[in-house]
């Protein structure tokens, strides 16, 4: 007897749920359609958004590979089918596929109720379907029973058809569901820019946007990330002179750039050994132009942009690698992620062998941080010959030389970054340590010279020289002792600075504690008094007891605040998050500011650095006590704003602003001097300690930081800007 079986059925509405839940908004829905075009190896994608026409519509058209009727039936109409599961890279351009797996096309329902898809593959005629998503909303209808109309005379407008493009897909969506505004268009442009190459010369993908809502945003989408490269290099190689002419620019360091020329023979040694052999004396690859962009994969790269870290990483994942372009056309597979030949410079292997950071001489960049383009031409580089296999170049001497040249440019970037990092590191060490190091270096050099002399002089003089060397040895021992003493003194100074800050803060905030103690006394006295009365007023007694408890807690909190200021762990030199230190201090001090009706506004960027937490706390507390005092002089509006932000990759700022009376230009330098105070009582008598900013200045001197004070444009009072090096 045959088994009786049943089958699952699917409610048609499920299709819509899948699509609607798979994307977060209608901009993402368009992006999914564009990603499908990208994955179809399109070189041109057109997006038209017409809101103000009689029949508002969205059109996404591409000149990708298109689909046959069979592919439509077996792939496009099959829910859950995705070519991307098995094939991670596209067939023609070996692009890493970007679209969502299997349900991207359903998300088009988010955009509008009617979708018309017309597609043309190479071998077949145009085939078109019209989908009315409303049909899928009917209750109780089985999915397979909802008809999808085949368009009888399908028409297609393929981007670039005027120049002979023959395949592609065009999707037109009508009965739009959403209100569109300028913000959505801007957001769409940003997302699209992640897909395009940062190099203007590269033409393997052109996305154009056309809309009637914000026409000023129309046009070809350019990469937003070109300007965000941490370091960019442009180099040209002249085969005749065997010289590399280059320019390296660092983005955030005031756009510092280095220009130079270097002969191949002078850099060839630095390229290092590889699995390919290049010609150390002469390169035969022809004239070449190389462009390399180096990116940091963290939030410091986003400084000055409105892009997100996810967008940056998507951009790098889509575009990272050093690609070869011959006459501006990609030569596969060089620079393709995932392809064995993709990392043709073996940057990954180099990095794994030398994982050192930028501060070390053997620093190597990571392949996921580089977007590079090597531009060659049939005329300029006749020795670079196509391989007889499907792709690539013959790995002859010319190719090896091209490879060595590209690596040389990578090496230039590595040296540049390493040198800058070292310079900053030397500046960052506290000046006393630097002075001691400098002194020891001089001693060592002197010792070397004396040793040299000792070998050269006659024996009667040698004795005197050796005597001098012995004395020098004693001096070295003493300098070691001095170095330790300096380190100890610096540590003690740090603690004293912390204690001074605590004292200053106590002087300013102490009255809050005094008021709390006063209230505690009043409430407890009242309770004692009322307990002797008849009848007992229990409600009042309870209220006063609760007050007493509450104020006792405040006193306790202030005590805890004072005790934690000089904890040992805060005197250790270690990696800390600046923003977290600020958050903690603010949390502890907020009740005092609340009592004085001072609003605290925080704008904190996550910044990690190696330093003493106590130094940051001391700087912050002293600025906050000043701001507190300044605000209490303004009965109308009391605000303090604290900003922690990057200046560039190497420096960060703590900025404290308030709604006080500001600092007059005439005393902007004086305020940092000891015992100078602007804090006065109602009769003009000085009441401040005059030490808070002196403590701040002292810390900045040790840390090689800097400070500035001006008027805050927003709050109107003083703005103190503290800049510190980031270790």
């Amino acid at each position: 007897m045959a088994n009786v079986t049943k089958n699952f059925t699917i409610n048609a509405r499920t299709l819509l749920t899948l699509g609607r839940d798979s994307v977060k908004d209608h901009v993402t829905a368009i992006l999914e359609l564009v990603k499908n075009s990208y994955d179809a190896d399109a070189t041109k994608i057109e997006i038209d958004i017409n809101i103000f026409s009689d029949n508002p519509s969205i059109r996404v058209a591409d000149n990708g590979c298109g689909m046959s009727e069979k592919q439509i039936e077996e792939h496009w109409l099959r829910i859950g089918y995705s070519a991307k599961r098995n094939e991670t890279f596209t067939s023609q351009f070996n692009r890493r596929k970007t679209g969502e797996k299997g349900i991207g096309r359903l998300s088009a329902d988010r955009l509008g109720a009617i979708l018309c898809i017309n597609t043309k593959s190479l071998e077949e005629k145009v085939f078109g379907l019209k989908i009315n998503w409303k049909e899928f909303e009917k209750e109780g209808v089985e999915l397979s029973k909802v008809p999808v109309d085949v368009i009888e005379q399908p028409q297609i407008s393929i981007p670039g058809s005027d120049i002979g493009q023959k395949t592609g897909t065009e999707i037109v969506i009508t009965e739009l569901r959403h209100q569109w505004n300028r913000e959505y268009i801007i957001n769409l442009r940003k997302e699209l820019s992640v897909l395009v190459s940062p190099f203007d010369e590269v033409t393997n993908l052109e996305i154009s946007l056309n809309n009637d809502l914000a026409p000023e945003l129309n046009g070809i989408i350019k990469s937003e990330f070109y300007e965000n490269a941490e370091t960019d290099l442009t180099a040209t190689f002249d085969e005749k002179t065997q010289t590399i002419t280059y320019k390296i620019t660092e983005r955030l360091e005031n756009k510092n750039s280095k220009e130079g020329q270097i002969e191949w023979t002078n850099i060839s040694q630095k390229v290092g050994s590889t699995s390919y052999s290049s010609n150390l004396s002469k390169l035969s690859c022809g004239n070449v132009t190389i462009k390399i962009l180096f990116y940091l994969r963290d939030s410091s790269s986003l400084e000055g942009t409105n892009m997100s870290l996810n967008q940056l990483r998507s951009f790098l994942d889509s575009n990272a690698g050093v690609k070869i372009y011959r006459d501006n056309i990609r030569v596969k597979p060089y620079g393709d992620p995932g392809s064995p030949e993709g990392d043709w410079l073996e940057l990954g292997e180099r990095k794994s062998k030398e994982p050192a950071g930028v501060a070390r001489a053997r620093y190597r960049v990571s392949p996921t941080q580089i977007i590079g383009a090597v531009f060659v031409g049939r005329d300029d580089n006749p020795e670079l010959v196509d391989s007889s296999s499907r792709e690539g170049l013959i790995k002859g001497q010319a190719f090896n030389d091209l490879r060595a040249l590209a690596l040389a440019c990578i090496t230039l970037i590595e040296s540049f970054r390493h040198k800058n990092a070292k310079e900053k590191q030397n500046i960052k060490r506290d000046k006393y340590s630097a002075q001691v190091t400098s002194f020891k270096d001089k001693i060592n050099k002197f010792e070397e010279k004396l040793n040299t002399i000792a070998n050269a002089v006659p024996s009667e003089v040698k004795t005197e020289v050796y005597k001098a060397l012995n004395e020098l040895e004693e001096i070295k021992k003493e300098s070691n002792v001095t170095e330790k003493s300096i380190a100890q003194l610096l540590s003690e100074k740090r603690v004293l600075g912390g204690l001074a800050t605590l004292g200053i803060a106590s002087a300013v905030f102490g009255h809050e504690t005094q008021s709390a103690i006063s209230q505690f006394n009043i409430s407890t006295n009242l309770v004692a008094h009322l307990l002797n009365k008849d009848p007992l007023e229990i409600d009042i007694i309870n209220e006063e007891l609760e007050k007493a408890r509450s104020y006792a807690r405040k006193v306790s909190e202030w005590g805890a605040f004072a005790l934690t200021r000089v904890q040992r762990e805060k005197r250790e030199h270690k990696e800390v998050y600046i923003n977290k230190i600020v958050e903690k201090v603010i949390k502890e001090i907020k009740p005092i500011f609340d009592s004085a009706n001072i609003e605290i506004i925080l704008q904190l960027t996550e910044i990690k650095s190696k330093l003493y937490a106590m130094d940051i706390e001391a700087i912050l507390l002293n600025l906050l006590t000043n701001s507190y005092t300044a605000c209490t002089q303004n009965p109308l509006e009391r605000k303090v704003k604290i900003l922690v932000t990057f200046v560039n990759i190497s420096d960060f700022q703590i900025i404290v602003s308030d709604t006080g009376n500001g600092v007059d230009d005439s005393i902007k330098e004086q305020i940092w001097e000891p015992l100078f105070t602007t804090k006065k009582n109602s009769e003009g008598k000085e009441t401040g300690t005059g030490l808070g900013l002196t403590v701040v200045q002292s810390i900045l001197n040790d840390l090689q930081g800097s400070r500035n004070v001006k008027q805050d444009d927003d709050l109107g009072g003083a703005q103190f800007i503290i800049t510190l090096p980031r270790n």
Binding site: Q519, I522, S523, L526, H529, E544, A596, N597
Partner: protein, 215 residues
């Protein structure tokens, strides 16, 4: 008769009020409030609410009330009140009884008392405060009664020159004590009263003349 407690800190003035309420005599009551933004508002408030004595804190700028932080402290308040109400009894009850600004006003107030001491020994301080308030009210009441008697004599035409002068002196004292719009109304009232008295004088003169003619 009322005691007015002025303090920017709600919890503190509430506790002090409870303390005072627990020990004041029956005819007395207590009001507590945060400081007014405008000092001028105190004078009318005092007269309209029959305040007899004030307990004020020194540090009035530390906390906001209804998003208002006043621009003056206790010693400024004292200077102002003294310029308007020369003899009005004021005590400062504060945790900052050693503040130099306050000490300078020592002669302008009835007393400067530490808050904790006040609550520790309320039975020591409160009777003094009550007495000050009572004395002020009683002094005022006596003069009002005196003015009323002299006014009756004016109407009857029995007032002496000395009594008239005394009436004007009391009037002046009343004017200095209550220089508000309401007090300006009193000024107008007194002027009208004087006008009426003058009219009575004229009428009396006419009646006398008529009577004389009839004789």
């Amino acid at each position: 008769m009322k005691i007015l407690i002025i303090d920017d800190r709600k919890d503190q003035r509430e506790s002090i009020r409870r303390f005072v309420e627990s020990e004041i005599p029956k005819k007395w009551s207590v009001i507590d409030m945060p400081p007014f933004e405008d000092l001028e508002d105190y004078v009318s408030f005092i007269s309209e609410n029959e305040i007899s004595v004030i307990l004020v804190d020194e540090r009035l700028q530390e906390q906001s009330n209804n998003n208002i932080v006043v621009s003056y402290n206790g010693h400024d308040f004292i200077s102002f009140i003294r310029s308007k109400l020369y003899t009005f009894p004021i005590y400062v009850v504060t945790a900052y009884d050693g503040d130099s600004d306050l000490i300078e006003k020592f002669s302008d107030v009835e007393g400067i008392i530490n808050k904790t001491d006040f609550t520790n020994d309320i039975l020591l301080y409160l009777p003094r405060i009550i007495r000050s308030g009572q004395h002020f009210v009683e002094t005022f009441q006596v003069e009002l009664d005196e003015l009323s008697n002299i006014s009756k004599k004016i109407v009857k035409g029995e007032v002496t020159a000395d009594e008239l002068q005394r009436a004007r002196a009391i009037q002046t004292k009343l004017n200095i004590a209550f220089t508000t719009e309401k007090l300006n109304e009193k000024q107008i009232l007194l002027q009208r009263l004087k006008g009426k008295l003058d009219e009575f004088d004229i009428l009396k003169a006419r009646i006398d003349k008529f009577i004389e003619k009839k004789k």
